[in-house]
Amino acid sequence: MTGKANPDAKPWKVMTASGRMDALAGAELEKTCHEAIQAHPQVALDLRTVVYMSSAGLRVLLSSLKLASSRNGKFVLIGPQELVRETLEMSGFSRIFQIVDDPSLLA
């Protein structure tokens, strides 16, 4: 199969979070995400090495999605581990986020 690069495709800015997305880490992560969203139309947050997420982490995700939406951009999540995925699902957040398993799947 051969492919042709879409010249109109916007590049993705992929950021990586790791460890715990909790009340202690929330403010700094939110600042970093918002700065990236303001600089790039499409931002993906790689969650593959995040081991824990509380409501503080969820709020960071939501405020980032809100900011991206207000700028007609995208904010996508990559590869949450099982326990983090469970938190996303039971909070209902998985309904409003695009979640991909791998950065290569970003379209």
Partner: protein, 154 residues
């Protein structure tokens, strides 16, 4: 999950258990201490990783609530844990202003939107991950939240 012994009084242990206690200042630096305390007890009780994650999540949400809305930075809050047969019971006491727990916990209904702020998300998660949640405002010892997690049985 249902209590393994069936019906019972709210938040009451079916049998005596092993007790632990901790008193912490209401400040962000207490959160990692609380986490380590909870993890050690849950491990000792033989709880699986998923249940330990639920316990950490619930305790963090309650502690953050006390930090934000309780008696203020620098005041103390107390945690008691009891490992009973097939369960762990947490009791969190603080001396802050009592609040309408159920009302706060029901502000969020599990459907986020980017248009609306999500008030009550932390308490919503607490009720999701714990098997029992009881709030008793203004007891002689302060406001008391009781959280119970049962061990999964297969």
């Amino acid at each position: 999950m249902k209590h393994p012994a069936g019906g019972k009084a709210k938040g009451v242990l079916p049998a005596p258990g092993k007790a632990y206690g901790l008193e912490l200042p209401a400040e962000p630096e207490s959160l990692p201490v609380l986490r380590a305390f909870a993890e050690a007890i849950a491990l000792e009780g033989g709880f699986e990783e998923r249940a330990r994650n639920h316990i950490q999540l619930a305790l963090e949400e309650i502690a953050v609530n006390i930090l934000m809305h309780g008696s203020g930075l620098g005041s103390d809050f107390r945690i008691r844990a009891i490992l009973g047969p097939g369960l762990i019971r947490w009791e969190i006491l603080d001396t802050g202003k009592p609040f309408a727990f159920d009302q706060a916990a029901s502000r969020y209904e599990g459907i986020p939107t980017v248009e609306q702020p999500v008030g009550g998300l932390g308490l919503f998660l607490v009720k999701k991950v714990m098997d029992e949640v009881h709030y008793e405002p203004a007891t002689p010892l302060g406001n008391r939240i009781i959280l119970i997690k049962y061990k999964e049985t297969s």
